[in-house]
């Protein structure tokens, strides 16, 4: 009887841990997508020290969430290895594992790109600003930064860690990735998507965005024949796309 009670307790704690991990996963996704928005402005005319500071803060937040999440996931999966669990429990944990590893990989590639760009476009002196590319963005990071600040994760207030700088962060993440992959063998192919195809197209997200696509269509004023003439064979060595 007591053994049954204990296993029910274990089940409850595991469920709680899984939901905690799921919420942290969503938070991490939010933070990494904000990081990517910020990174796209690197090297462009919107680049400034404010942007870089925001990126550092975002990175720090992501680091805190990811290290906590990795520890919890490792504990969750190694626990469920030892204790007898239901098949669905194990599947949920494996799904979380795979999703976390995917987020880490994509965040890592963003970090590498960002570190390369920061190295190529240093902002130390005023003359460096001349080498920034006029890509058309003015400055829109305030909203993104606010979004980052609004991210909540279950253990953010609990744990305080030192934030590594960029290169160390990258190596640290790589270490975490390889460590996790070696420690618990989770077959990727056994995880299946919970959502079917095209589901996101059906969701209604706030205001209709079709106006944005119309905005992008530039006025093509009697340009039809001009398009044809510009593509004469002598000048198009590479051939046209489309």
């Amino acid at each position: 009887m007591s053994r049954w009670c204990r296993s029910v307790d274990e089940l409850a704690t595991r469920r709680r841990q899984q939901s905690e991990c799921e919420r942290a996963q969503e938070a991490l996704c939010k933070v990494t997508s904000c990081f990517q928005q910020l990174a796209t402005s690197l090297g462009a005319s919107a680049d400034c020290s404010f942007l870089r500071e925001e990126m550092d803060e975002t990175r720090a937040l992501a680091h805190r969430i990811s290290s906590g999440l990795s520890r919890r996931l490792i504990r969750l999966l190694s626990d469920s290895d030892s204790a007898p669990t239901g098949q669905e429990d194990r599947q949920v944990s494996e799904r979380l594992w795979v999703l976390f590893l995917s987020v880490l990989e994509s965040f890592l590639s963003d970090l590498r790109k960002a570190s390369d760009l920061i190295r190529q476009f240093p902002l130390g002196q005023r003359s460096d600003r001349r080498s920034l590319v006029n890509a058309g963005c003015l400055d829109g990071v305030v909203g993104v930064a606010a979004r980052v600040a609004s991210v909540q994760a279950p253990w953010l207030t609990l744990e305080e860690e030192s934030i590594p700088d960029l290169t160390n962060h990258i190596t640290g993440l790589e270490a975490i990735l390889s460590d996790m992959q070696l420690r618990v063998p989770v077959p990727f192919w056994s995880v299946e998507a919970t959502q079917p195809l095209w589901v996101e197209a059906a969701t209604e997200l706030d205001e209709p965005e079709h106006s944005l696509e119309d905005l992008m269509e530039v006025e093509v004023v009697s340009d039809g024949n001009k398009m044809a003439t510009c593509c004469q064979p002598p000048c198009c060595v590479l051939g046209c796309v489309g």
């Binding site: 997508s33 796209t40 795979v98 987020v103 994509s106 058309g136 056994s190 340009d223 489309g242």
Partner: protein, 453 residues
Amino acid sequence: MQDSKSGIKGSDQKLNVTTIPYVITGKDVIAWIANKMKTTVEGLAAQVFGNMLVAYGYIYPLQNHKKLVMCNDNTLYRFQTPYFWPTQKWVAEDSDYAIYLAKRNIRKKGMLEPYEQAHYNHLHKWLNHKWDFIVMQATEQYKAGKERKKPDRVVFDCQERAYWMINRPPRRTHSAMDCGPDRLIDPSVEEKITFDQYRRMNIFYQQAIMRSKVKSSVSLGALVKYVTTYKNHDAFLAPCLPSNPWQTDSDAYWNLNMRRVDVPTKMRVERWSFSLFELLTDLRGRDDFKIFLKKEFSGENLAFWEAAEELKWGTASSMKTKAETIFKTFLAPGAPRWINIDGRTMGLTVKGLEHPHRYVLEAAQTHVFLLMKKDTFFRYLKSPVYKDIQKKALNPEPHNFSPAQLEQNAQSRGPGIHPIILWQQEEEEKAKAAAASAPVDVKAMMSKIDRKK
């Protein structure tokens, strides 16, 4: 390039709702490049350079985002942000593309281009384990994007779209990002050559010097003759009729040139006239040649040649029996299909047949081949059989597919005929041929005629 004084004149782009700065026109870009490169040729090099800039994605067009060329007029372009610059260090990952497609899906409510839809379905199948992450990340990126001001959002969407147009081009378009397979060895690294390698190189070169050589005029003459004969038959140099299946996804060409087609194409028949080798290697041509030889009652040369080929390419276990049948049928004195080769070759072959191996009939086969080439082949080319097939041969019309039809063709590509079915057909035909060419039993024939009476 962007310097306000000496760079390209940037101006504001006026859209329906808002104004976006930093837009450049194509002709300004080309003029600036020409000026910088100090070219005197009428900007041809500058035009090419401009095209390359667009094709690689450093500058992207605003009006027709699918046509990646730099037009020398007032078409508008913009610089791409360095995050989306092409570089070999970071390959554009499939998961990133999946996230982009999902984002686009959200924005356009499922109205993606057909090639994008195909990619989406494919990625959903192969990245199924990550799909929840992809959808989650796409929604989050979409929401993060909405936090920016409207003009910045438009610019970012344009940038992303241009980036993926370069890295995942639509079907049947040239992409500048095509690169070949990666090398395993770094060619610029100095390699230490050992003493032994030098020794072997010396021996090789000494032997090469001692080899007998052909004069270049002779070999080049042979090359020229080959090219003039075959130049219309090369799919790279001349258009292939009806259409090149690799380009238009229509397998009419392959169907018209199958092994056992009744009426061959004109190009195929012309090819048979080039040399006996061409005629015999094309099995359809060989059939035609056999028909001709049957009329002339001189089929034993070809039969011997075919039997020798079978011996060469056959299994080792069947070689002994094959050699015996060949000897009995073709080489023994008084054999039913005795071939007429010179005495020396005959002696060598018969001696070799005591211990048969794969190439025991090589000398005799070459002799027979030369006989056919010098005599029978030319008679064949002048014969009514050949002229008849030349007249009957098909000359298919070249296809002229519109882009929509090409798309249709690409989607309706099938796996074609299964090779096992082809093999079975071949076996049936071979059995029929064997039954037809079995030596006629004279007595049975006579008794049939008697019975008819």
